[in-house]
Point group: none
Chain length 220, copies 4
C-alpha cells in the first residue's frame, strides 16, 4: 500500500473520529465523513467494507493513539517511586482529551453491540491495552517491594485493580462533568487521586510521609 493511500486512510479515520464525536456513531453519515475527509463517498468504500467496519477501525485506531508510555515508567533501574510518579504524570497528562475518551467509550460500545465480529476484535484490543498497564504496574510494585521502598504487605492485584479503576472511574465521571468539571475530574484531580494511592503504598518511615517533597530532604 503506497504512502499516499496510507495518508488517505488516516484522513478517513480522522474524519470518522471527528464526525462520530459530534453525535455518536449512528448519527454519523457516510456523506459527512467523506466530506470531512475530503474524499468522495465511493472512496470510503474503497478503504472500508462498510460503515460498520469503518467504525471498528476508527475505534481501534483511536484506542491505539491513546496508549502512551513514558520510557521512565518502564526503566527498571529507576527508583520505583519515581517510576510511579512518571506513570501518574503520563496518565494525568493524557487526561485532557476527556470528551474524546468518553465518546470513544460510547463508540466502542456501539461497535460491540452492533457487530459480533467487531466485538471480539475490540475486546481483544482493550484487554491487550489493559494488560500492558497491569504488567507495568506489576513490575514497578514488585521492584518497589523488593527494594524496600514499598510496604511488603501490599496486596498487589488489589492495588493494580484499584489504580486502574480510579483512572477509569475518574475518566468516566469526567464525561458527565464536562460542562463544569469539579477539580476532582481534571488532570490535576487524576494526579491527586493516584498520588494518594501511591502514598498508601510507601513504607512508613515517619507515620505518613509525603512522597513528593520529603524524599529529597530526608537524605542529608
Amino acid at each position: 500500500m503506497p504512502p499516499q493511500n496510507e495518508t488517505k486512510r488516516h484522513r478517513i479515520l480522522d474524519a470518522a473520529r471527528q464526525v462520530c464525536s459530534q453525535n455518536g456513531y449512528e448519527a454519523a453519515r457516510m456523506d459527512d465523513i467523506a466530506h470531512v475527509a475530503g474524499v468522495s463517498k465511493g472512496t470510503l468504500y474503497n478503504f472500508f467494507e462498510s460503515k460498520e467496519s469503518l467504525l471498528i477501525a476508527t475505534v481501534l485506531a483511536t484506542h491505539e493513539d491513546f496508549v502512551v508510555v513514558l520510557p521512565a515508567v518502564s526503566d527498571p533501574n529507576l527508583d520505583p517511586r519515581l517510576r510511579l510518579e512518571a506513570l501518574v504524570d503520563s496518565l494525568a497528562d493524557g487526561f485532557d482529551g476527556i470528551t474524546q475518551h468518553i465518546v470513544l467509550s460510547h463508540l466502542t460500545w456501539s461497535a460491540v453491540l452492533t457487530s459480533p465480529s467487531g466485538r471480539q476484535q475490540l475486546l481483544a484490543t482493550l484487554r491487550s491495552i489493559y494488560s500492558g498497564y497491569e504488567q507495568q504496574l506489576q513490575s514497578i510494585l514488585q521492584a518497589g517491594i523488593e527494594s524496600g521502598v514499598l510496604r511488603p504487605d501490599i496486596d498487589i492485584p488489589v492495588v493494580i485493580a484499584n489504580w486502574i479503576a480510579i483512572y477509569d472511574g475518574l475518566l468516566y465521571r469526567a464525561g458527565f462533568e464536562e460542562d463544569d468539571p469539579s477539580p476532582a475530574y481534571t488532570a490535576a484531580g487524576v494526579r491527586r487521586s493516584l498520588t494518594w494511592l501511591t502514598e498508601q503504598l510507601l513504607v512508613a518511615d515517619s507515620t505518613h510521609p509525603k512522597v513528593e517533597l520529603e524524599e529529597e530532604t530526608v537524605r542529608p
Copy 2:
C-alpha cells in the same frame, strides 16, 4: 392519571429498556418496543412525544431504579466502620447487574449526544445521584474522624473521589470483561477493592489492622 395508565407507562419503559439493551438505542425500533410492551405503536406516542423522549425517560427511570440506600449506611449513631462496611456491602451487592449498568451508561450517552435538551436533564439527574453518594461518604468520614476511628489527616475530597471512582472504574471495566470476568471485576472484587480503601483510612492501632474481624474482638 389512573393506575391503568401508570401501569402501561411502566410496561412501555420496561419494554424500551429491554429492547434498547439488546443492540443500543439506535437499533431499537418503536415497533419492537410496542410489541414487547404489548401495546400498539400509536399508544407509544400517547405516552411519549418521540423516540428520543422515550429514551430519556427510560434512562432516567433506570437510573432511579439503581439507586439503593441502606438504612444502616445513613444511620449517624452507628460505628462509622460499620457504616462503611454497609456501604461496601450495598455497592457490592448491586454489582450483579453489570451488563445493565454498562448498557445504561451507553444509553445515557446516546441520550446525551442525541438530545440537547435531554442532556441537561440527564446530567442533572446523574449529578444528583452522585451527590447523594458523596454526601453519605462525607458524613461517614467526618463522623469517623471525629470519633477517632479514622485517621485525622484524611483528605476527605480525595478519598470520596477515589471511592466513587473505584466503583465506577470497576463497573466500567467489568463491561469489557463480561465474557470471562477476572475476579477483580465481580461483586467480590468490588468488596475487596473498597475494603482495601477503607483499611487505608483506619487509625493505625497496630500496624495495619484488618477491619472486619479485629475491630470487635481487639478492644476489651
Copy 3:
C-alpha cells in the same frame, strides 16, 4: 387478509408488471412501481419483502393470468376434432398480448438468474402450466385415436412436444417481429400453423381433408 389489501396487492402487481414491461426488471425502479400503483414506497415493502420477491410474485401472477382453458377443450364428450379446434382457438386468441409474453419471458429469466429460491418456484410453476397443456392434449389425442377420428399410428409424445413447441416458437419469434410482424407471427399465423399440425393427425378419408368445413359435409 382483508379484501382491501387484496385489491392493493393486485394494484401493486399490476403496476410492477406494467413498469417492468417498459425496460425490464432491472430498470424498473421501486419508486416508479409505487407511483404507478398509487401507493408509497413503504407500502410496497409492507406487501413484498424486496424488489426481488415482488418480481417473482409478478411473474407468477402473470403466468397464471395467461392460463386460459376453454370448457370445450376439456369436455370428453365432444368430437376430438372440435376439441382440438377449440384449443387452437384458445391459443390463437391468447396470442394478442405478444409483447407481454415476451417481456414476461424476459422477466422470468431475470428472476431465474437472480434468485436461487425464485428459480425453483418459477420453474415449478412453469412445469405445472405446461403439464396442464400436455395432459389436455394427451387426453384429446387418445380420445381421437380411440374414436377413429385420428390416425392410430400417431406418436403422441412427439405430437404433443411439437404442438407446444410450435406455439412457444411462434410466440418467441413474434417478439422479434413486433415492429412489422409477418403474417406467420400473428394470431392468424398461430391458427394456421396449429391447424396444419391438426390436419396431419386426421385419418385420411380422402387424401387430405380440411378439418374445418368438410367435417360437417362429410357425414351424410
Copy 4:
C-alpha cells in the same frame, strides 16, 4: 487494426459473454468483465463506448457464432430428403449449448429493451439470421416438390414457419427444463420432432413410410 488489438477485442467479448451468462447483463459488472478479460477497466472503454454498446457487440458476436451451415444443406444437387436430414442433423447437433442459447436470448432482450439504437441493429441481425434459414428451407422444399419427393400440396410458408417454430420452441422450453430435461428437450428430441415434421411432407408411396431407412431399400 493490428492482430493484437483484434485478439484483445475478442478476449473482451468472450469475457463479457461469460460474465453475462452468470447472472444476466445488469448483474455483470465492468470490473468483472475487465478482470476476466485480463485487462483494465479503462481498456474496456478504449474498445467500447459504454457497457451498453459492449453488450450489443457481445450479443451480435454470439449470434454469429451460433450460425452454422452445412454444405450438404445448401447443395442443390443432393436429394432434398438428404438435405432435410442434414439440416435436422445440423440443428440437433447445435442444440447442446442450450443454456448459452437461452442466456443469449435473455441478453438479446436486455439489449433490445435497454438500447433504442441497439434495438434496430439487433432485430436486423436476427431477421437476417432467420431469413437465411428460411431461404434454405424454401429452396429445399421447392426442389423436393419439383422432384416429386415431397407432396405437391405442401403449404410452404406454413411448413417453414412450423419448422423454425419447433426448433425455437424446443430450445425455449429446454431452458426451463435444464435441471432435469425430459427427452423431448434434448438433441435427440429435436431430431425426433423435426424428423416427424419431415415425414409429413413426403409423398405417400405406402401409407406412411419412414424417411430414414425405408426410402433407400423400399424401391427396387
